[in-house]
Symmetry: C2
Subunit: 334 residues, 2 copies
């Protein structure tokens, strides 16, 4: 604690910029690797990613023909839908009152879904397509719809040139995942971590220092600033909105630690979307996970830091989707 106070004093005096960045990295906060950004940018024009982008925006992958990945993971809204619990096919609310996690930087998650049941993006992508309260589309029908559209047959062949049968449900997931892997968002915080010491304001640095010193980095770490582990929630004190929804975590009762990148854009918060204010969310995290009562000024500073995690979004040209053919199974919104 003494060390922290000294550090805050040093930061306030503008002396410890490099030390704070170094400390943050030592505590596990990592910038988005430059090579990954370059690779993502390069991949954008590839046949696989272009196809994945089309499928990401493709409402015909849903039974109704109206819901796409982008409906709940809206690239314009921080990669989420902005409602507490996801709404899907026939306006069904998520049966466990689960909040849609952001797709941005989801590539950094070691597991996908709140209960971590999926090991990677390509597996994850095939879940909501089939889930009854989401896109409600049987896998065979999804393939049949896409297969019935001649342009898609060509595009799959180009995206998976080695495969004789390129248009499969697994490859739909692979293509969507390849697009999602390009959705990474470097922020001012990344610039700061890699040496641009004035990329964060004094208030943001104060927040970063608190974020590190209070112990948030125990769970929110890595290039995703989260997403790297499963954790008990609540851990120390009860979560006051625990009765909203019936989510019980994974087999061990653990919940995935979400990324904090773009958190400013992804209210409401927590797995059940119970909390709309980022300040309140930070305060609750202090209580439930760290057993501390954060002061208002501390919360303000930490929120300032969290807002510095809002990143630059990749350019996404809205795709033109190929028309259905005579043999395309019709959408079924009923």
């Amino acid at each position: 604690m003494k060390y922290v106070l000294i550090l805050i004093a040093m930061v306030s005096a503008g002396l410890a910029q490099d030390e704070l960045a170094t400390l943050a990295q030592q505590r596990g906060l990592k910038p988005i690797p430059k090579e990954m950004l370059a690779a993502a940018k390069k991949a954008q024009a590839s046949p696989l990613v272009q196809l994945g982008k089309m499928l990401y925006f493709e409402p015909r992958l849903s039974r109704s023909g109206l819901i796409s990945c982008n409906t709940c993971h809206n690239l314009g809204l921080g990669g989420t839908d902005g409602v507490a619990a996801a709404i899907g096919h026939k306006w069904a609310a998520n049966p466990h009152h689960l909040n849609s996690p952001t797709v941005y930087n989801a590539v950094f998650n070691s597991k996908q879904f709140w209960d971590g049941r999926s090991p990677n993006l390509e597996d994850q992508a095939t879940g909501p397509i089939q889930a009854g309260p989401e896109m409600a589309m049987p896998a065979e029908l999804a393939v049949e719809r896409i297969q019935s559209i001649p342009e898609y047959r060509d595009l799959f062949q180009k995206a998976f040139p080695e495969e004789k049968e390129a248009l499969t449900f697994l490859n739909i997931g692979k293509a969507i995942a390849a697009f999602e892997e390009t959705l990474i968002t470097p922020s001012d915080f990344d610039a700061y971590l890699i040496g641009k010491s004035d990329a964060l304001s004094e208030q943001e640095k104060k927040g970063l220092d608190l974020f590190v010193s209070k112990g948030c980095t125990t769970c929110h770490n890595g290039p995703g600033i989260g997403g790297s582990m499963m954790m008990k929630f609540p851990l120390i004190k009860p979560y006051k909105f625990a009765d909203l929804g019936d989510f019980k975590g994974d087999a061990n009762g653990l919940t995935k630690v979400p990324t904090l990148r773009n958190i400013e854009e992804t209210a409401p918060y927590f797995h059940n979307g119970a909390v709309w204010s980022l300040n309140e969310a930070v305060k609750i995290m202090g209580e439930t996970q760290l057993g501390i009562d954060l002061q208002e000024a501390e919360v303000e500073a930490m929120v300032s830091f969290l807002k510095a995690l809002t990143g630059e979004k990749p350019d996404v040209r809205y795709p033109t989707l190929p028309p259905s053919s005579k043999s395309t199974p019709r959408p079924d919104p009923s």
Copy 2:
């Protein structure tokens, strides 16, 4: 008829290309004006159009926070939703079983909506936002939501620099309309009309010739290839799917003639979306509006021509929407 036969013979012989283009123009088929295309391209970067694009993709303009203009007028799907009757707030189907018309080239419509009740795009845009079965958003609440987002306040000021109170419901409509005015899609047919005689294949020219000679241009004319008038439907013989929905047309029982641009991409067809096959739609039009029984080969040729109306879509970068603030009224999907 004799003239037509001669013309067909001439087209088949590859002799009458210029004459056919001239005839088409004489019968009222017009290319998209070059100046309009240039203006649309130029306008894309303007503060007004950029704001309009954001609002077009803005689901927070709906009560639920989940439905945007783009939900039913999907820029990836020919500017439509691909279902028979529009689905809106809480999964309500359009109460009159009306099909969502395309937003592409809607600027060429002399009136908006199937019953032509709206005089222009800026007026039209404010309708579905408020309509109960569509976005279900009271105008005041729409303004309150947008007003609560600081970035939007700035963007409205920049888009409407002359106005003291820039953020109004009318200006929301104006901005959306300004974006929609840029959604025009030049096609091979335009290239043909303005002198590129090989821009259409022989089969497409045969279809164009039939389109002109059979009388389709009586209603489907102008740069929108439709959209310029209200017409009785059915006119001569009954429409076999007339019992689907209860649409009765305008005060005079007339229905808006839709644009045929991008018609390949906008199934299902007619005001009630009853017909999924473009071939069948053409055949029905022949019967109901012209009282003629088109032969299969004629229908095929006309459909080939209609597919040459599929145009190049403008580049639309998916917008990043500004985050809600503490005072933003919450979405209400319930």
